[in-house]
Amino acid sequence: MSVELVAQRPTSGTPRRYEFPPFERHRLPNGLTVLTVEMPGRPLVSASLILRNGASDEKPAEAGATVLAARALSEGTERYDAIALVEAAERLGASLHAEAGWDATTAGVDVPAERLEPALDLLAEMVGRPTFPTAEVDRLREERLNDILQARADPRRRVEEGFVDTIYTPDSPYHRPSGGLRETVETLRPEILGGTHRRGLDPEQITLVVGGDLEGLDVPDIAERLFGGWVARPGSARPGPVVGRSAVPRRFVRLFDRPGSVQTEIRIGHVGLPRRIPDFHAVSVMSTILGGLFNSRLNMNLREDKGYTYGANAGFDMRRGAGPFSARAAVNTEVTVPSIREMLAELGRLRQEPVTAAELSAGRDFLVGVFPLRFETPGPVVGALAGLVVHDLPDDELSRYRPALEAVMIDDVQAAATAHIDPDRAAIVLVGDAERIASELETGDFGPVEVVPAEEEAGT
């Protein structure tokens, strides 16, 4: 049985020209912005209404109100109760949704083009006239409290919560989950949610983004009918600055004990960067080389060389304020200490040595090449435009993304690493079996080791 293969690797063909789909900007007389993106041949249209009240702007005592308010939008409006609203959406084949993150509340719908107008009508009703019925808010609050319990038991969620609580000072909203903490969620009532939601209800601060095959649809005209009557509500506000201060003067280890764990969840990192930074593209290439690609330094070392983990990665969570940077892996318990050592070494090496030309092109070419793949359908295109709105980025940000990446050089990558990654001021946060790893951690030269006992865990 003979096999005949072609040894010669094929060379690439000629790239087809690609531009991020052009979009049009309209402004309704009341100040509400409408962005439309024509994507011929895409009959499933995606629409998003972006309100600029994010969880980072809420009062600390009301932490979780923004996320809960977004969840409660569909629980009843002036015209519909919760069931009537969801049934009306389902009859249109529309998935109507609303969610809040740190920077914005987003409500949206995906629907076949010919049913866009009735779907947007439901969206306008849900966002513009929610009633926050007490009984439904009570239920959602209890569900969130139960979810907080569940998160404690899941090592993946526990380590994320423990990590941000460790790296940020308590006056930063980012030290807590965007969904809030038990003691704040317990106090949330309909009037608080109503107030939180009204913060975002200023048409000057609202953008509607619609993408898909819009042939025959006059979207600005539809938007004027449905949203043109909106006026700023009392209590509406513009987003303010976000505090993102580090609570880690020098490196230390915090281990949340979870007896019997067969793996240790590891997060190593510190306060990172906001989205609006001059070296955004250099940082993107740098973190792709460190922990974004499958063949990133972290994954090749910890997985493909050592077999310590199913996957190791790293990245910056860029928000309006400085979100976290972390390197992440879940490793076999016995190799916790060597894994941390390798991860710290990779963070240091990125600062100390320039990346190779091959690494630079691997990271850069991946980001450049994969860009068109991300925007095949309307949903991600609308999502990317929502990102421009949330971060106040210029209209040409997406069309200049690829040229800006192409311009990143080896020195830029090293400069970004030196400026933004600091293993000496990183927190090492772990969820794992203290009995099996705590004493070895002491000998690891990682800094002081603090163990948070499991009983304390259960009681909080």
């Binding site: 690797r9 009859r91 793996q263 499958f294 199913y310 090449g369 793949l373």
Partner: protein, 444 residues
């Protein structure tokens, strides 16, 4: 709204490789998807987890490609890729900028033609460790993480290959030898056991030339063993129950049922029905357990389609604090029982149809999904054109068909009930399976 028809060609190379191609020039993207007719159902006792471990080995290099270089080349070309293993099959795919199609075809051909040239004990040992960490991460260290394995074991008898999970057991993974891996490759990885689908922005004539050039010299395996008869009785015979102490704050009840095989119109009816029962905030189970009675934190119900004798219908409800497990279980089962007694209303069916239609529109909008579906329909049903007919099958489902299949499936003598209850730590195995079980992937 009608979905646009997917036009495609369907042919075979002399060595048996089935080639399905479909053009779509909307976006500068092309998807390559190779399905091999081998899954965890082909594993024998003592060698569970093998098909999936093997999938990992497929990324460790071949005659002209170094270890982990397959992924490096695809990513540097601006593409994405993965491999997945499931009970009935294994697949490998690349989604590429259109001018990089040839590279993806060459890479797939090189590993199919010459994997064993590069296979070493060291690489096998490394991927064995990776897979063991995948098992720890996805199952053993997660709240409720063992439910899928337990449901399969209860729903299928020991001698049936769906009895064991795709991830396998630690002991079997440890025992896998280099010779086992080689034998597995020689047996199942042959062009006549594969379907290659290419969908997106490309020229079919050139693509066919490339396929012939790169795959044409790989010989068929004339003696691929066929699995025996996997048919099963429609029901498991009697209710099976298990209480599982786990490190979880809230109890959760999992329900499992044997269901008609994938491809049977009754499974279509069950899938449409599961939208009505648990497909969102307007569904019956959500309304009653979560919204009205407030006894559950969440509910879900879905079907996992398999071709080998029976599928799985499964669901769960997480019990709220201060509510008895019994109350949640009986409310859940009451709704299932009612479903088998009375037909759903016209409005419920119309809403479910509209949602199914939009979901199909959303998933078939991407060339990657279209390539996957056509390779799947060709591999499992010898019928890639199902991509044009499956939505019609869902939309043709009637209220009576839903009632009938519910009555057949949701019977007490066809039911597995797993109850996860909070245990004192430490538990040996733990974990949160918020999502529907996934096939096993090369990379998270």
């Amino acid at each position: 709204m009608a979905l646009p028809a997917v036009r495609f060609t369907d042919e075979r190379l002399p060595n048996g490789l089935r080639l399905v191609m479909s053009e779509d020039h909307l976006a500068p993207v092309v998807a390559v998807n190779v399905w091999y007719d081998v899954g965890s159902k082909h594993e024998v006792p003592g060698k569970t987890g093998f098909a999936h471990l093997f999938e990992h080995v497929m990324f460790q290099g071949s005659a002209h490609v170094g270890k982990a270089e397959h992924i490096a080349l695809v990513q540097a070309a601006g593409g994405t890729m993965n491999g997945t293993t499931w009970l009935d099959r294994t697949n490998y795919y690349e989604t590429m900028p259109s001018h990089q199609l040839e590279l993806a075809l060459w890479l797939e051909a090189d590993r199919l033609g010459s994997l064993l040239d590069a296979l070493s004990q060291e690489n096998l040992d490394n991927q064995r460790d990776v897979v063991k960490n995948e098992k720890r991460w996805s199952y053993d260290n997660r709240p409720y993480g063992t439910w899928n394995e337990k449901l399969q074991a209860h729903l299928f008898p020991k001698e049936h290959p769906y009895h064991h999970p795709t991830i396998g057991s630690m002991a079997d993974l440890d025992a896998a030898s280099l010779e086992d891996v080689k034998e597995f490759f020689r047996t199942y990885y042959a062009p006549n056991n594969a379907v290659l689908a290419i969908v997106g922005d490309f020229e079919p004539e050139r693509a066919r030339d490339w396929v012939e050039r790169y795959f044409g010299g790989i010989p068929a395996n004339p003696s691929i063993p066929r699995l025996g008869n996997l048919s099963l009785p429609a029901v498991i015979g009697k209710e099976r129950r298990e209480v599982v102490p786990d490190r979880v704050p809230l109890p959760r009840i999992y329900f499992g049922f044997r269901a008609p095989p994938f491809g049977d119109v009754r499974l279509d009816a069950l899938e449409v029905g599961s939208h009505i029962l648990a497909g969102g905030r307007g569904s019956r189970l959500y309304r009653r357990l979560v919204r009205d009675e407030r006894i559950a934190q969440d509910v879900t119900l879905f079907a996992l389609g398999f071709v080998g004798g029976a599928s799985i219908a499964a669901g769960w409800a997480t019990v709220r604090p201060a509510v008895t497990i019994e109350r949640v279980e009986s409310a859940f089962l009451e709704e299932l029982e009612k479903f088998g007694r009375e037909p759903v209303t016209d409005d419920e069916l119309a809403r479910a149809r509209a949602l199914v239609e939009s979901e199909e529109l959303a998933s078939l909008g991407r060339v990657e999904e279209r390539a996957d579906r056509m390779a799947m329909y060709a591999t499992l049903f010898d019928d890639p054109d199902l991509i044009n007919r499956q939505l019609g099958r869902y939309l043709a489902v009637t209220a009576d068909q839903i009632r009938d299949v519910a009555r057949e499936v949701f019977r007490p003598d066809n039911r597995v009930v797993l109850t996860y209850v909070p245990a004192e730590p430490p538990a040996d195995e733990a974990a949160n399976a918020e999502e529907i079980p996934q096939d096993e992937e090369i990379a998270a």
